[in-house]
Amino acid sequence: MLTFMASDSEEEVCDERTSLMSAESPTPRSCQEGRPGPEDGESAAPWRGQDGEEDHEEDPDHYVCSGVPGRPPGLEEELTLKYGAKHVIMLFVPVTLCMIVVVATIKSVRFYTEKNGQLIYTPFTEDTPSVGQRLLNSVLNTLIMISVIVVMTIFLVLLYKYRCYKFIHGWLIMSSLMLLFLFSYIYLGEVLKTYNVAMDYPTLFLTVWNFGAVGMVCIHWKGPLVLQQAYLIMISALMALVFIKYLPEWSAWVILGAISVYDLVAVLCPKGPLRMLVETAQERNEPIFPALIYSSAMVWTVGMAKLDPSSQGALQLPYDPEMEEDSYDSFGEPSYPEVCEPPLPGYPGEELEEEEERGVKLGLGDFIFYSVLVGKAAATGSGDWNTTLACFVAILIGLCLTLLLLAVFKKALPALPISITFGLVFYFSTDNLVRPFMDTLAFHQLYI
């Protein structure tokens, strides 16, 4: 889901100036009364791996803030426009990195393309003789998966509504523990097996322990921004790899389609669980668990001595962008890209130092599903790189379009539907139409 967000980070002034950033997202600024936009309905990216722990933390807080009162609206517009492209790139880079990790693993480590059973959420097998039966089984698998997701999301909303914060925090910590230790241990083991590298247990223990412990600290407490982002990308990739391995083929595609429909519905319908979660968080004026969101917020400090007629000059005042990152927990949220507008100080006659946070937030669930799509394309495309690349470009274009719509509509939007639709269309068309054409051309060394 994409929303505009501006948050106040006054209480975190000290933290922001140091290199360690608090894992908590700053509380939203009080200028919320400006324009409480409809916030997201981000569909939760529910479902975690095999052991049934699911994080349905989603719904990053979306606060729509029209900026500091007194700022000329045209200036605001220009600022939004000027930084819109930067935010798109700030999302392109982590999404691309996650996909690269997933595709590289899929292409080199055999483990993730071998079939070794299925998740309990997809109980119906696809090893059936007839096509109709297979299709039916995959649809049933999808229904079960989606209903599990819906139930968990509603459970999360209820927990949040009745203020069971400790329960939610414990849940998040458990799931990120499992991800950071167990899944990365398995991943490391498989990579070592693939390259036939021997590693003794003490070294292995030390490596996994350090990796996991630093990850827990970065994600749930404080850590450098880049490290937090890197851990987020890694756990999204790990989760996507688990899905690629354990989801049967047709079920995976149907699930991808269904989850983007669910995302659309949950974000845009008034009674969607995600929307309710966000509205509750807005009423209480607190951030929704930032754990499941990738954030690349930048903090701008703008100082202004006094109002002068050329208050447009506020734009040219020196500012220090500081990177701040919200904490994010395990995966699970459907994406919320959020774009924050920087409010400009416009109060006449005062010395004003204001910190504003503007950044983009994308839920980890989006990372996961994008990577699942591209990874599945890489795994099943019969060694074809064209399909993978086509899906990659399609997803990036979908993300770009979604961000453009966000800039136009200025309300929470689901980030999955457009990208996943493009990705699916391009996967099937490239695999069936483009691949034979390009193969024949390459064989005869013809160039178009």
Binding site: K82, I89, H444, Q445
Partner: protein, 285 residues
């Protein structure tokens, strides 16, 4: 085979494009976005042409023999047409959307593009461009022509060559059945020339559209058709590859002048004497 061939061919084919990307596009988010949109347009054109080829194949009921070869040639020609149509479509969209496209500011700054497009001094140009891009908020149509041409070229080159490249890593012997042993090398050079040609075609095409010089569009289409049909005579690489490079050089010269370069600015740039010129245009080196 093996890693040497893989890396060698990869850098031959994609080295210049990568350098252009790193020095001129990677620093500006807007340009990256337009590059990816250009790549997407090329991809859609490829999809359409594959569909046409596939339908033609099903209509002729997939008979074997020379029919397949003719079908392939037909597919290639149709694909070239569709690519140029999509290039025109991209131009129309950029022209229509530019005034209100959210990420773009509304100022036009075309002067930065002259040195920018000069081939021989692209490194110096990128330095100058870096200074411009610090405060540049607008994208001129010339810059968009460059970016879109590069986007088309990169996508075209990648799609043509990446499968061949991944095969070059694996075990195998080239030309064991009597084919040319220079398969990979020639493919790499051909990919390079295609990428650069797309770049120049983009610049010339957009310039022709802007100045309503329709013969430029026709010439772009004709040269594209020429280059593609010349590859039909592969593996007689001498003719196809050399003529493709000659066409590339000619298109490059045309693109240089179309983008606003001149012999004088080129000379000044090469002799590093363009400080006054830059100063006059209010840019720093």
């Amino acid at each position: 085979m093996t890693a040497a061939v893989f890396f060698g061919c990869a850098f031959i084919a994609f080295g210049p494009a990568l350098a252009l990307y790193i020095f001129t596009i990677a620093t500006e988010p807007l340009r990256i976005i337009f590059l990816i949109i250009g790549a997407f347009f090329w991809l859609v054109s490829l999809l359409l042409s594959s569909l046409v080829w596939f339908l033609a194949g099903t209509i002729t009921e997939n008979k074997d023999g020379p029919v397949q070869k003719y079908l392939l040639m037909f597919g290639v020609l149709v694909s070239v047409f569709i690519q140029e149509v999509f290039r025109f479509g991209y131009y129309k969209i950029l022209k229509a959307k530019r005034p209100s496209f959210p990420p773009l500011a509304l100022r036009r700054r075309g002067y930065g593009f002259q040195t920018f497009s000069s081939l021989c001094s692209f490194i110096k140009a990128s330095e100058g461009l870096k200074n411009i891009s610090a405060d540049e908020t607008a994208l001129s149509m010339r810059l968009l022509a460059y970016v879109s041409g590069l986007g088309f070229g990169i996508m075209s080159g990648v799609f043509s060559f990446v499968n061949t490249l991944s095969d070059s890593l694996g075990p195998g012997t080239v030309g064991i059945h009597g084919d040319s042993p220079q398969f990979f090398l020639v493919s790499a050079f051909m990919t390079l020339v295609i990428i650069m040609l797309h770049l120049f075609w983009g610049i010339v095409f957009f310039d022709g559209c802007e100045k309503k010089k329709w013969y430029a569009l026709l010439l772009v289409l004709l040269t594209h058709l020429l280059v593609s049909t010349l590859t039909f005579i592969n593996p007689h690489y001498g003719i196809s590859l050399v003529s493709a490079y000659i066409i590339m050089v000619l298109m490059g010269i045309w693109a240089f002048f179309a983008a606003g370069g001149s012999c004088r600015s080129l000379k000044l740039c090469l002799l590093c004497q363009d400080k006054d010129f830059l100063l006059f245009s209010q840019r720093s080196r």
